[in-house]
Amino acid sequence: MNEKLNPFHIAILIHVVQVGVTVFSLPRLCAVYYGTNGWIWIVIIGIAVTANIALIHAAVKMGGGRPLPEMLGLFLPKPVSGILQLAIGCMYALSACLTSKQYVLMFELQSFPATNPYVFRAGIDVLILCLVVIGIYNLGKAATIVFFATIPFPFFYLSLLHDVKLVRYTPFFLKDGGHWVEGFFQVFAAFLGFELCLFLVPYVQRGDTRWFYAVYAGNTFSWFIYLALTVLAFGFSSFGQLKDLLFPLLEMAGHLTLPVVERVDTLMFTFFFLMAVMTATAYFWMATELVTYVFPNIRKGWVAAFLIASTYFVSSIPNELSRVSAWLQLMAKLAIGTSFLLPVLLLIGMLAARALGRVKAP
């Protein structure tokens, strides 16, 4: 009866998909690439992300409610748009697989150092397949459940406020950093996930254009959490320490105490599993949508299964945390490029289509 996504759930979906494993290394990235008080750049990058979303918003409005592949088909010849969609789909699928692999490797760091990740990844991939197959509307419902289950955790960090000393922030701004461009890509990668909104177009209420504000809301919420946690980290650990720690937020969580459980950071990371799975699922879903559009005769379930299985094997190639991170960074750069260039392409293409008369101006 109700197959359309509600704006509330869209906001939650975007937020849950955005928050991935990168958030734990965010303070280190800011410290290494931007220097002292590097958290300021999160504000700036957040603005860039919002601008990107606005770009997508414009493209979607221009498209007048058409789904992405249809828009591409309006101004690109069939084979070109097909190849483009397949390429983007493969990239998303590979990113998703690498994200889940990185989560597994990080988890194994703490608790399962000797296990081969293929075992866990197989299990997680089955779960991801189940989640992709239930459709985006039900995925939104699952994201809501996950959101409510994990929302207390960022607030736990507030209990560490008493250990934050203002002097640790140093009065110097953005010194001892250096690589701003590289840093831009790295930090932006933490915000990736909002491009899901481009694919939600066929699943929202027709005629209701306000749903995009939900995307902005979800993104702003993630942005706020990132900023707050990074600022906290900069005050909790000294600058030099931040540069050395691989996952500063995880280390900070190690200082949380609960009377019943010892290592709250392990527990928190365990609950984070749901968030990471949602991110990977959303990307697989986007990839499935793209591929299904190109091959409409194959059922979605099989497409998803094929994508998940094939990326499973491809991503078996890097097997160390550093190599997986390197691959992920590459994928992130591609994804960032796509998220900027694709809406631009759509905008130009739609204008061209209008000029060519293939589409009527509203």
Binding site: A114, V119, L129, S238, F239, Q241, G254, R263, R299
Partner: protein
């Protein structure tokens, strides 16, 4: 609506064949899910045997009762006996014994090696699987600390199974002997040490020092790390002062009696007891002591920095020896003044010690940073500046009450 329902009810016979049950809910991959279910059912025997054999995680099984969960780890430096023998590091680990019928409650293992294979050697000495996830304290001997702790700490910090809340302590003597300390009132010295350090850090006569704080202050160029000393005596193991580090080397210490003054300068504490020796015969004890500090730095005309530390104390006087009754306000004020003077004197002593050692353990540098531009700060040798600085200590004392006896 009534008509629709009436139509439904009246309708005789139904659609051909009747709908197959279970096809009312729609999902995209309904058939895939059914297929998966069927595949799962058919492969159940294979899957079950795979599952029960651990499914790849056998290597990481850490079943609780088979573990030796190390709670305290200690490091000693043993000089080589012959002149050309290298110094070796002695590692001692302490873990509780999981055997209700055992006579001892904790077991100590110790091994010396000059290559970094202590853990492997230790593993060969016990039937338990040694794990470090429940490690709570690490103790270094003073000789290792004097040589620089960074390399030793590196292994601990890198290990993801060891949390960063592991407490750090030093010891003057032999750590192995410390961990083997036996006393009828202290059946488990590991637990004792752990509780001692935690309790004291709550009462804050030493601040809480763990791997995180040590590394944090080490990497911060405006402050130097500290660590407490634990030494055995005949009756117990006690806190015996605070070690001062310059970078990662131990360069000096604050004696046990002067610890409160150091902490007053270092940070704040909530609930302490302080005994001040005013003169030869007069001793005053303050209890329920809260202290807070404020650091003000400023640069004088020539660019030289100077600082003032304001220590605010707040407590109750509970004991005094050798002093007349102080029932009048005037007498109380005078007592307070004398206490304040003594506190300032003692604090200044600690500061001078730190300045002599060129170890800014209280973090004046962190505050002084804002007086300099970034390039200036980088070029500056803060420790020298700190050594030459003029630091004043001012104390304020508010006494809540003088007890219930006039």
């Amino acid at each position: 609506m009534r008509r629709a329902i009436a139509r439904l009810v009246r309708r005789t016979g139904n659609r051909a064949g009747g709908r197959r049950t279970g096809s009312f809910g729609r999902t995209d991959g309904r058939r895939l899910l059914r297929l998966m279910g069927r595949a799962a059912a058919w492969s159940l025997p294979a899957v079950l045997s795979l599952l029960l054999s651990g499914c790849g995680t056998q290597a990481d099984k850490r079943v609780l009762e088979e573990l030796g969960m190390v709670s305290v780890m200690g490091f000693d430096l043993e000089k080589g006996e012959a002149s050309d023998e290298k110094d070796s590091n002695r590692t001692t680990v302490l873990f509780p014994v999981i055997n209700p019928m055992a006579k001892v409650e904790e077991e100590t293992l110790s091994v010396a090696s000059n290559s970094n294979d202590s853990r492997q050697r230790l593993a060969r000495m016990t039937d338990r699987k040694l794990v470090f996830g429940q490690l709570r304290t690490v103790i270094y001997s003073a000789s290792i600390a004097e040589g620089g702790l960074l390399d030793d700490l590196d292994a601990l910090i890198r290990d993801p199974t060891i949390g960063t809340r592991v407490k750090l302590a030093l010891s003057d003597g032999n750590v192995r002997k410390l961990l083997a300390f036996k006393h009828p009132a202290i059946p488990r010295v590991g637990r004792y040490i752990d509780l001692l350090l935690e309790k004291e850090s709550i009462h804050l006569f030493i601040p809480q020092v763990n791997l995180h704080t040590f590394y944090r202050d080490l990497k911060d160029d405006g402050i130097d790390p500290i660590a407490p000393f634990l030494n055995p005596s005949e009756q117990s193991v006690r806190l015996d002062g605070i070690g001062l580090f310059r970078d990662d080397r131990l360069v000096g210490r604050i004696p046990a009696d002067d610890m409160p003054y150091f902490v007053m300068l270092y940070s704040h504490f909530h609930q302490g007891t302080l005994t001040v020796q005013l003169t030869e015969n007069e001793v005053v004890t303050l209890s329920a002591l809260r202290s807070d500090r404020e650091v003000r730095v400023r640069r004088k005309a020539g660019g030289v920095p100077e600082a003032e530390i304001l220590v605010k104390l707040h407590g109750t006087v509970v004991e005094h020896f050798g002093y007349e009754r102080f029932s009048t306000d005037k007498k109380q004020d005078e007592l307070k003044r004398r206490i304040v003077r003594k506190v300032e004197e003692k604090c200044k002593e600690q500061l001078e010690l730190m300045q002599r050692l060129r170890a800014d353990c209280i973090g004046i540098g962190q505050h002084a940073r804002r007086l300099y531009g970034y390039d200036e700060w980088i070029k500056l040798d803060w420790r020298e500046a700190f050594a030459g600085m003029d630091i004043k200590v001012k104390a304020e004392l508010k006494v809540k009450d003088f007890g219930i006896y006039q």
